[in-house]
């Protein structure tokens, strides 16, 4: 999928992740992650975001995400929602 315009999904509530997607003029995937469990799960969250983008065949995007302890299924869902909204 192509990221044609900025989009967002999710909320800042506990257990959720607020994601904002933007087209990336430089090309490639850039992830800017803030998380309340950065030390313990930062790597894992980025991994899930990358995997989801790969599944959706997104190659160029800037992802800004603010995580409040979302589990993997929530991260996947929010990235997918934002991606579809950005088409």
């Amino acid at each position: 999928m192509e990221i044609n315009k900025p989009s967002k999904a999710g909320t800042m509530e506990s257990n959720d992740i607020y994601v904002m997607l933007m087209p990336n003029p430089k090309g490639g995937i850039e992830i800017n992650l803030q998380s309340i469990v950065m030390k313990q799960f930062g790597e894992e969250i980025e991994k899930v975001i990358l995997e989801t983008l790969k599944e959706l065949q997104v190659v160029n995007v800037i992802v800004n995400a603010q995580d409040k302890g979302a589990l993997n299924y929530t991260i996947k869902a929010r990235i997918e929602t934002a991606t579809e909204r950005a088409e």
Binding site: G10, E13, D16, L71, Y73, T74, A77, R78
Partner: protein, 290 residues
């Protein structure tokens, strides 16, 4: 004995925290809601979140139901297509008509085949919440053999009728009767409308007892705090259990003595009473009340 459906708890579909704890709040069934609990701009978000939740979280100890949007909306068909493929136990259909249910049935047949699910494994629970639905509840249940229960939606129904909705519930007395009887005739569960005051437990108990006294087999809830109260109303009392056990003991005695009919406390005990006694004892056993 089939699975208990004393309580059906509504959970907003776009809220990850609630989706995660839904299964352990004590309700027999949980309804992940894509309809009223989700704003129009978030319908897509909720649908994808619920799909992922069902795929990844453990809901094995409850009946998993998803309330999709009404068929008349742009969301319904996508809801059903996406959610059915992750195999919830049932879909809950708002304001359903016989025709709509038949359409959904066909969709589900196709999806079950494509996904390799057992035919008919995804059940349906229509909500009766319009004047039309109420008048046609018997036909609605007959329309499709996936239907396992009917939920009475008191708020939307009274709105459709243009009347006031009250705590005492006099205005839905006929509706409750109609739904309960139709469900009993068709041997499906009848689920009463939820009580909307989260902090009035006395009112909740009264309302639940009213529904039970008219034959309802369960009640929906919009707050986890209501579950214990509803369960206690639908549980047999200590006296009811004692009486039921005595009936069954008397029945065993009679069989030993070769008697076909027998009486207990001066009253004749026949098949309906024995059946009720068996159900009571079984329910008590399931609830560990014995």
């Amino acid at each position: 004995m089939k699975r208990l459906r004393r309580t059906m708890l509504f959970m907003p579909g776009n809220n990850p925290g609630m989706l995660q704890s839904a299964g352990i709040l004590g309700a027999d069934s949980i309804i992940l809601d894509l309809e009223d609990a989700v704003s129009l701009t978030e319908k897509d978000s909720a649908r994808i979140l619920v799909r992922e939740a069902i795929k990844n979280l453990d809901y094995s100890n409850v009946e998993l139901v998803v309330r999709v949007n009404p068929i008349t909306t742009e969301f319904a068909l996508v809801d059903i297509d996406v959610i059915a493929r992750v195999k919830p136990d049932a879909l809950m259909i708002p304001k359903a008509t016989e025709e709509e249910l038949k359409t959904i049935d066909e969709m589900l047949i196709k999806i079950e085949k494509e996904e390799g699910f057992d035919a008919g494994s995804i059940k349906l629970i229509p909500i009766v919440e319009t004047a039309y639905g109420l008048q046609n509840v018997y036909n609605i249940i007959k329309s499709c053999n996936r239907i396992v229960a009917i939920l009475l939606g008191g708020e939307d129904l009274t709105s459709d009728l243009g009347i006031k909705r009250t705590k005492e519930g006099e205005e839905i007395f006929y509706a409750r009767n109609q739904v309960s009887i139709a469900c009993k005739a068709m041997k499906v569960d009848s689920i009463d409308t939820p009580f909307t005051d989260t902090n009035d437990f006395e009112g909740l108990e009264k309302d639940t007892r009213k529904a039970k006294s008219l034959g309802f087999t369960g009640k929906a809830a919009i707050s986890p705090k209501h579950i214990d109260t509803i369960h206690s109303v639908f549980a047999p009392t200590f006296d009811e259990i004692k009486h039921a056990k005595r009936v069954l003991m008397a029945m065993e005695e009679a069989e030993k003595e070769g008697k076909g009919v027998f009486s207990l406390d001066g009253k004749m005990v026949d098949a309906p009473i024995i059946n009720r006694a068996k159900n009571t004892v079984e329910l008590a056993r399931l609830l560990s009340l014995t």
